[in-house]
Symmetry: D2
Subunit: 321 residues, 4 copies
């Protein structure tokens, strides 16, 4: 039972129970990605049976959900050269060559993303007990920058469609806290291919993105949402998964389960577990395919863009079945 | 034999011989990615034997090779919130939570990338014979934007280390034009695992990046370089590969093989073949591994970031063996 | 009388009556700024009696009115170095030095601005009859870039507080079209210091910004607004003013006075008159001062930031009385 | 005499002698701009005799001096809509309307600028003795943001052409330290109109920009340069000027006059005097005019762009004579 009035106490207790600090040495920068080893990658690749590929990324453009909260805009894409110019002949290239280049301005948390280990701190401490100010300065994450994970994230993926297993019409309502019981019920409903184990990359579908698509973004980015209950910290720790991703902006349930709180589960799982968390993933097409063939596991390749020192990264995850 | 004085004629002739316009229908937006089917993806996944993963991306940061040519800067990464602030307690979050967010401003052609089909035009025409000004306006690529390829690029990868097979100390000099003969000699030297066929993703290592790392960037971005000869257009067409990537900024040899020319092979392969071209890939660590185990093929997953309407995309390609 | 069903005809007629094409030669890039000569500047400077200075700029930040329409975001300001880092001692400078730098990403039309002459076209033609595609390519305005006006815009300013003279409680309602009669009535009400003549920089206050401040931005940027009537084109031409600025996003009334139209007065005054138009200026504090002292003229210095090739520029106009 | 081995001691001593902390109250955010009052503004305006106007800004574009040091790029200007598109008819506006919009990405220290009071710290302290981490966080300057100076900077300007008075052919060599004696000699040579007093805005021309224009940027931004000697701190304090600007990147001489040092004069004048410092101003055309008419004073209007929380601002200063 959560004491709704004491998030700080609950966070401290969960952090103590679930800490991975020192587990992989004082210099570790990978956290739970250490669970994802070559055997996982072989197991993941062996799941490619049909050769079908699904992009789990939302589109990166101005029609996204961001409204400026925390200076998060939608990606602004502009052209440095265009086909219109090329066709008109203003570019000055020889022998009929024309070209188009482009540029993007993009908060790294704007759309489909991985949170890096420098994204969240607990009382001024980052993953592995480092002081936050020694890790992430205005020059970026000097220690656990997302580039450290550039080559790692390819392994067995599992989709848990909690929206379908537990919700109505495939969707959980805003404020719905997904507990360990809901996760286990979903696994049981989906069968053996949905088992979750060490090194897995777990995708949790709530249906929140499907609702935003149908009804408009509204407060999709930053507002109320279904998501993982604070109480799943132990499950996330015990299962020894390498990463988890959801189709919501913030992974955990909003409003949070404490009276005055903001993303308390983040505060446990990122700095203490060193868990890689994916947000705003688009799991709908993949989910439809899994329903159709009854197979909920796949090869998941979700390599972050190695922006040096980034505390997160946009990503185009591919699920291959 | 190339007539060095007539790039326009040579381009027209090659374009005629190698055109894929209409091959996959008038509405096609994928070009040679049509060669990459589910069977290729199964074949690629089956190449995962050890489970080792290699990132083929350079780092995305200010220490990159760009110097402002064509307004291409290196990626500028800045923080919206920092660990220093979190540690100092200025962020205003409850219960000890601290956070760090970040943002990037980045030409999409700045570092490791895919060229999209809207990147290059021939006499005002884009892939499949569309008018350039109907495809790429200042609002981006309305037809062949890189998002159309979001789910496709996972398949059998092959590394051709031409630098090692043909060059001295693993490197080709600037201005060295890699011909079909050099490619075939490399394949023969590397053996059966280096065969190239329909739907493959071919990585050509010249050693140019290794040289830049040793000697400093110099003119790595935009300057002299080894690269594919204009004469390889037919090989690129005949082999029916899905894509090709190099460790150079511009894929083809510079200076070009004509007297007054700029990237004539681009002008053939992107608009006429619809070929996906990768540039500035880092193939060195992968090459070392291939030398060590004698296996030059692997599962290559190189999903572009689906920036809507982009004529190219930064990418973190993973080669998994 | 406007034929509400024929904006195209009305635009063509007004353009013919009011054209300044060729007036200052075929090479002219300054349009109505040609009216602003040294005598105007002397006259303006002589209006500085008290030495009081008023900034007519809104603040440039994320709390602005933009919502992404036409990819116009609010300015995004981020830090490259911070005081928090300096205080913590992470910067590596000698002898106790600390520093802070910053960067901005900003649509030039996001906030208080001048429209340049390359901002609007009529049937593919820019100011002075040039073809739009020869003037503004993806490399910017090659002819009338805002840098050409870098040294010019300092002269006699006049504030016409139409909101106060004609509106209720100092504000005009959205959709209110300010006609020549309203302008003249305001001048008459304000007295001799409000006369408008050749070379003047005219500021028209509608009260729209005051309403947005009170009620929230709503659709301030891009939505309904009071503004100049299409019928003022002749007045704008006849008075030979050098520039005009309003406290609204778009200078002219919205919805426009034709049935299916978008900013028809822009289409006349920018390409045909070569008129410099300022938008989103904050005239409220200045207006209060003018009410107080009964003097509606001042020295106005509103030098655009000379971003080479820009079709407009953010500006911090100073009115000095 | 400077002890070249002890910058820290020299800084501490100068800071003690010249401190303005508390001079204008504990809440002051304007520093030396407090010297610039209405009388100064009247005096400045009265200097407008001919009505000639000079822009003192460099152009803001990719052809600037920045090379990426401290993530300072040149301004990147891109188009959101173009005339080429308008002419081709792809924009979808009614009645023949066409438009062009644009956007800029720009370090605020990239070109002609004002340093704000939050730009430099001394041992973790900002102007008026505030702690740096309480003033400038990753959300910007919360106290002395450049917007606080939005309406102030218009007053009497004085040009001191030290390059002409002291140098050869109008230029001082790199590493030349301008002392109080050089400043006074220049004033004496230029005559009465060059006197410097309380509230003035002093422009110091070294000729460094002219040299960069002739020889190429080289290390103009961040490299060796003539500039003010550390020893001028007392003169800057005693004269009670409101601001000072130079045609160099960094205001003070480089290399600095201490053995291991970086911008020690900044460390005194910004946090301790609260002095407004302008850098990369283009004083050449104005200087030529002053030579021609023998008048070295003018009305200077240099209003920063009020980017909220900025520690500096690009500016287009106008000198009006």
């Amino acid at each position: 039972m959560l004491d709704r009035t004491d998030p700080e106490g609950a966070i401290a207790a969960a952090a103590k129970r679930c800490s991975n600090w020192g587990r992989w040495g004082a210099d570790d920068v990978l956290g739970t990605l250490n669970f994802l080893d070559e055997a996982n990658r072989r197991e993941g690749a062996a799941l490619v049976r049909r050769g079908s590929s699904f992009s789990l990324a939302q589109s990166f453009d101005m029609n996204g959900p961001q409204k400026g909260w925390r200076r998060r805009t939608n990606p602004v894409h502009t052209m440095l050269d265009t086909g219109t110019d090329a066709e008109r002949g203003t570019q000055g290239f020889p022998h009929g060559l024309g070209g188009a280049d482009d540029v993007v301005f993009m908060p790294l948390q704007a759309s489909t993303q991985w949170d890096g280990l420098g994204h969240i701190f607990d009382h001024g401490l980052a993953y592995n007990g480092r002081r936050a100010g020694e890790v992430v300065t205005s020059e970026g994450d000097q220690v656990t920058g997302i580039e450290t994970a550039a080559a790692v994230i390819a392994g067995r993926g599992v989709l848990l469609d909690v929206g379908r297993a537990v919700g109505d019409d495939g969707e959980l309502p805003d404020g719905f806290a997904i507990t360990e019981e809901h996760l286990e019920r979903t696994i049981a409903a989906q069968g053996e291919s949905a088992r979750v184990g060490r090194g897995d990359l777990v995708c949790v579908r709530t249906g929140r993105l499907a609702r935003a698509r149908r009804e408009g973004w509204g407060d999709y980015a930053g507002g109320a949402s279904p998501g993982l209950s604070f109480t799943t910290a132990d499950w996330l720790h015990r299962t020894e998964i390498a990463g988890i991703a959801t189709d919501t902006w913030g992974f955990e349930v909003r409003p949070n389960e404490f009276e005055h709180a903001f993303q308390p589960l983040h505060q446990v799982v990122i700095p203490h577990l060193g868990l890689f968390v994916g947000e705003m993933w688009d799991l709908d097409a993949l989910a439809a395919d899994c329903v159709a063939d009854g197979v909920w596991e796949f090869f998941l390749v979700a390599a972050p863009l190695p922006v040096t020192g980034a505390v997160g990264s946009p990503v185009n995850p591919l699920a291959i079945k």
